[in-house]
């Protein structure tokens, strides 16, 4: 009786041990880090699975800031094989840290120059551009008799006080590209003066770039500074949101891919990078994003300006990347934590 009980106990104690031991030794698989939106990935991955049944891909998705932090944290012992669809300004940071293995994926010659790194064997290759858009809740705006803002300049109008939410640029890629666009458009001095005023209207800063838009969709704010794709998707879900492109031009960044430098670079990693700029998936990107690595001939997705590239500001990426730390420091010094919550 006791002995049987003992044996059972021993078995019970051993099972988790075996489970634990089984963990690190899995069949070789491809680990992909990405900051693409959660609702985009399943569609793309279906395409990948169809053409590459033999490769098992494991996706780690998080917002730009977190993916960047994760990769930098693992610098000495990188886990990811490939970075897919993550801000070029972040990839430049990895590049500075010597974490990227240059690679020229198949079909590179088609990629437009502004969508890739300048090296002959590029350190990163873009897939599409994402851009600032304001998500505006029409129901709440009407209820409060507020005009729909058309430009950055409109946003500092005192009538919007407490009705704005934007992402914290320190953690959100969307937040940073918007701040960097404002500083590039207006010049640093005027840009900071503008941001000071904007801060006066802001009810809160969020961690991720999509949250302001989702808050607008749920009526928790009237206007969320976010990115265009998110606005269209929330509308599709039935939320009363319109997406506004600021008339001065949208801040933007390239969602790009890179190969991570590891002791052993997997062949399948290169296969994945080839596929990620291939015609098939590019057409899928183009369904929801108007500016892709190369023209696909697809019509501009509904809601975007007819000439989507004109909406994008003239963006100096190397400036944005090399000044990132300084700008974020200054931003945090001015706005982070100093503000009390507003009613």
């Amino acid at each position: 009786m006791t002995r049987r009980w003992l044996r059972t106990t021993r078995k019970l104690m051993l099972t988790p041990l075996l489970l634990l031991a089984a963990f690190p030794v899995r069949a070789e698989e491809l680990l992909v880090y990405t900051a693409l939106e959660d609702d985009e990935i399943p569609g793309y991955m279906e395409l990948f699975k169809k053409s590459h049944a033999g490769i098992e891909v494991k996706i780690v998705r998080d917002s730009t800031g977190i993916i960047t932090a994760k990769l930098l944290a693992e610098k000495d012992n990188p886990q990811a094989d490939v970075v897919w669809g993550t801000a070029a300004t972040s990839l430049m940071l990895f590049d500075q840290a010597g974490m990227i293995e240059p690679y020229a994926p198949k079909g590179l010659d088609k990629v437009r120059p502004f969508m890739r790194d300048g090296n002959a064997v590029p350190h990163w290759v873009g897939i599409k551009a994402w851009e600032t858009g304001f998500c505006v809740n029409t129901v709440e705006m009407e209820a409060k008799k507020l005009p729909v803002p058309k430009s950055y300049a409109d946003l500092v109008n005192p009538v919007y006080k407490g009705h704005l939410v934007m992402p914290n640029p320190a953690s959100s890629g969307t937040g940073y590209l918007t701040v960097s666009a404002i500083l590039q458009l207006m010049g640093e001095e005027k840009g900071w003066a503008y941001l000071d005023k904007l801060h006066g209207n802001m009810s809160s800063y969020t961690h991720s770039g999509s949250k302001p838009c989702k808050m607008a969709g749920a009526g928790e704010t009237e206007i969320g500074i976010s990115f265009a794709y998110r606005g269209f998707m929330q509308k599709k879900k039935g939320e009363p949101v319109v997406t506004v492109f600021p008339s001065e031009g949208s801040g933007w960044d390239v969602e790009a891919n890179a190969l991570i430098k590891k002791a052993k670079v997997k062949e399948s990693a290169k296969t994945f990078l080839d596929w990620a700029i291939g015609a098939e998936v590019m057409a899928a990107y183009a369904k929801v994003y108007p500016v892709t690595a190369y023209a696909t001939g697809a019509p501009v997705p509904e809601g975007y300006p007819a000439e989507p590239e004109k909406q994008l500001i003239k963006n100096d990426f190397s400036w944005a990347a090399s000044n990132r730390a300084r700008i974020l420091d200054e931003w945090s010094r001015r706005y982070d934590g100093k503000s009390e919550a507003k009613k």
Partner: protein, 592 residues
């Protein structure tokens, strides 16, 4: 004490040696086994606790390349105005939360312990609800109640006049933290209020003291240790919690969210380490103060004490009935609102009910895979945690060897009480992901590196995070067992392992199950420690709640929290059912 213990061993040994040949060999063997186990326990505590915290301290003194920069980070941090704002905010939140949760909790505990209130079991259950949920859920539920489009703000979507209390910021944080700390205060205070000598009250009454006077001269002094403990616990919890301020804090920054911003937002690990150390200091002070106070508590409840049995008192009971159901009702409304919100299609515009948000398609966090991982992780934590904790308590409490080391192990076992989850999580990253260390010019490779990004490190982290309370539970249970069991068994030549398995463990089974449940429930709900540690392969449900809320998918975050709560309630019910059975059988020896 150790001398006394050894003397007992020595005096019983010869008698036994006469009866059994070769006994000395075995006894010596046993002693060595015990010594070995104690050393192993100490080593384990050093590796999982001391070294990671040291590594954190070192990290706060180094730049990102690992070069030593002394106190430069601290200087930078203390020169920034943000620190004082966050520190002040954290303190304000913690003090208000402590006052509210201990104040409200005292009344509630008083009702549970000292009145003959109707439905005390149910009331206790409701009060414990917040223990089962991630603290993020408190924030989320607040948004659905008091946010711009919350039930209260809009007056049930326009049915009633609404009121906006400005929930984003300190108001929201304090409400959410109070909800979080309340059950802890109640738990501690109920025990304190029950451990009271009825004779004191009889004496006071016979001397003609008024009820008010009795309250201030007998009741309050009687529970002062429990009260202080509750104050310290609530203070530490609300000072270090990160879930609620993250969701509902708006622009009101606190230290815990600062760490998150530094590490996750700005990839500044050294600065994260600095803020962790700043966060650690007040928690450590509270811990030391609590220990000092508790040391003075000797035998408040002596063997001759008569337990106080509450007697009915209609007016008092009616008051407490209203009081408790008011608070219980508020807690109930919180979680019912969260449940409702998780089922609404598009809050507040399309109020159809359904399971859309439980599909987790098109949202981050890992969906049901994450939920499954959390279940697995919590089961492992419960199993291994209970085994290690109980063994640790047994070795410290029931062996006679290596007195100094056992003292050390005892101290280390209580130390996690002072460690905020985020500090543990961050320390674990630094320690377990380090390649190795340069010690006096010699590179020593990290033998634990393989643990990084595995299930094992998450389990280890949970065990350490929740070690102290479990350890105290085990120690209390073991203390209730007479030492005679061990002495007699040893004198009869029974190996200590056999006594442990056949006597000690069965007798302590209720406590063991309680420890297991405690580990499980907390591992399911915790966010703070694991948010830095979980790996790509192993998303977790509680972290998924944080990530989905971050991305703005609040309804999905709410749905995932509901799954966590459901799993925990299920475990709690299973625990209740199994203990009532076991208690009857294994504790039969207590009744005659």
């Amino acid at each position: 004490m150790p001398e006394g213990g050894l003397a007992t061993e020595a005096s019983t040994a010869p008698a036994a040696a006469n009866a059994h040949g070769g006994f000395w060999a075995r006894v010596d063997g046993e002693r060595w086994v015990k010594r070995l186990l104690i050393v192993a326990l100490c080593l384990w505590l050093v590796v999982v606790l001391v070294l990671p915290v040291l590594q954190l301290l070192v990290k706060s003194l180094a730049d990102d390349q690992g070069g030593f920069v002394g106190l430069a980070h601290y200087a930078k941090y203390f020169n920034s105005p943000n620190l004082f704002v966050s520190l002040r905010n954290s303190l304000v939140v913690a003090v208000l939360t402590t006052l509210l949760s201990v104040g409200l909790g005292f009344g509630y505990a008083y009702a549970l312990a000292r009145t003959t209130l109707f439905g005390r079991g149910l009331l206790k259950g409701i009060a414990m609800m917040p223990l089962f949920a991630p603290t993020l859920l408190n924030g989320i539920a607040l948004i659905y109640l008091f946010g711009r489009k919350g039930l209260v703000t809009t007056g049930m979507f326009g049915l009633l006049p609404g009121v906006d209390i400005g929930i984003y910021g300190p108001v929201g944080i304090v409400i959410a933290e109070t909800l979080y700390a309340f059950p802890q205060a109640v738990l501690i205070l109920v025990i304190a209020l029950k451990m009271t000598d009825a004779r004191l009250y009889e004496a006071a009454q016979s001397l003609g003291a008024s009820p008010l006077r009795i309250f201030f001269t007998v009741t309050l002094p009687g529970v002062r240790f429990g009260l202080m403990s509750a104050v310290f616990v609530c203070f530490i919890l609300s000072f270090t919690d990160f879930g609620a301020p993250k969701v509902i804090g708006g622009n009101y920054s606190v230290l815990a969210t600062d760490i998150y911003k530094q590490v996750i937002g700005q990839q500044n690990f050294s600065m994260g380490a600095v803020v962790s150390v700043v966060l650690l200091i007040p928690a450590l002070l509270a811990f030391i103060a609590d220990r000092l106070v508790q040391r003075r508590q000797v035998a408040a409840f002596a063997a001759r004490s008569v337990p106080l049995v509450p007697r009915p008192n209609p007016r008092r009971d009616a008051f407490f009935l209203a009081y408790c159901w008011l608070i219980g009702g508020v807690i109930g409304i919180f979680y019912l609102t969260a449940l409702f919100a998780s089922l609404v299609k598009v809050w507040p515009y399309q109020l159809e009910l359904g399971l859309w948000h439980y599909h987790f398609s098109g949202t981050g966090g890992g969906g049901y895979g994450a939920f499954w991982n959390s279940l697995r992780m919590s089961a492992h934590s419960a199993l291994w945690g209970t085994a290690i904790t109980f063994l640790a308590a047994y070795l410290i409490e029931k062996t006679r060897q290596l007195h100094g080391l056992r003292q050390l192990a005892y101290f280390l076992s209580l130390a996690p009480l002072a460690l905020p989850g985020m500090v543990i999580g961050l320390a674990y990253i630094f320690f377990f992901n380090a390649r190795g260390w340069d010690i006096a010019g010699v590179f020593v490779a990290n033998p634990f590196n393989w643990l990084y990004a595995t299930m094992a490190i998450l389990v280890l982290c949970n065990i350490v995070h929740f070690f102290s309370v479990s350890f105290l539970t085990a120690t209390t249970a073991l203390k209730q067992m007479d030492r005679e069991f061990e002495t007699v068994s040893a004198s009869m030549g029974v190996p200590f392992t056999k006594t442990l398995v056949r006597v000690t463990v069965p007798v302590c089974l209720p406590a063991i199950l309680e420890i297991g449940m405690y580990y499980f429930v907390n591992s399911m709900a915790t966010v703070s420690a694991v948010i830095f540690l979980y790996s790509a392969d192993l998303p977790l449900a509680s972290v998924a709640v944080a990530n989905m809320d971050d991305a703005g998918d609040t309804a999905n975050a709410c749905a995932m929290s509901m799954l966590i709560v459901a799993a925990n309630i299920l475990i709690r019910l299973m625990y209740g059912a199994s203990t009532s059975g076991i208690r009857r059988r294994s504790q039969a020896w207590l009744t005659r």
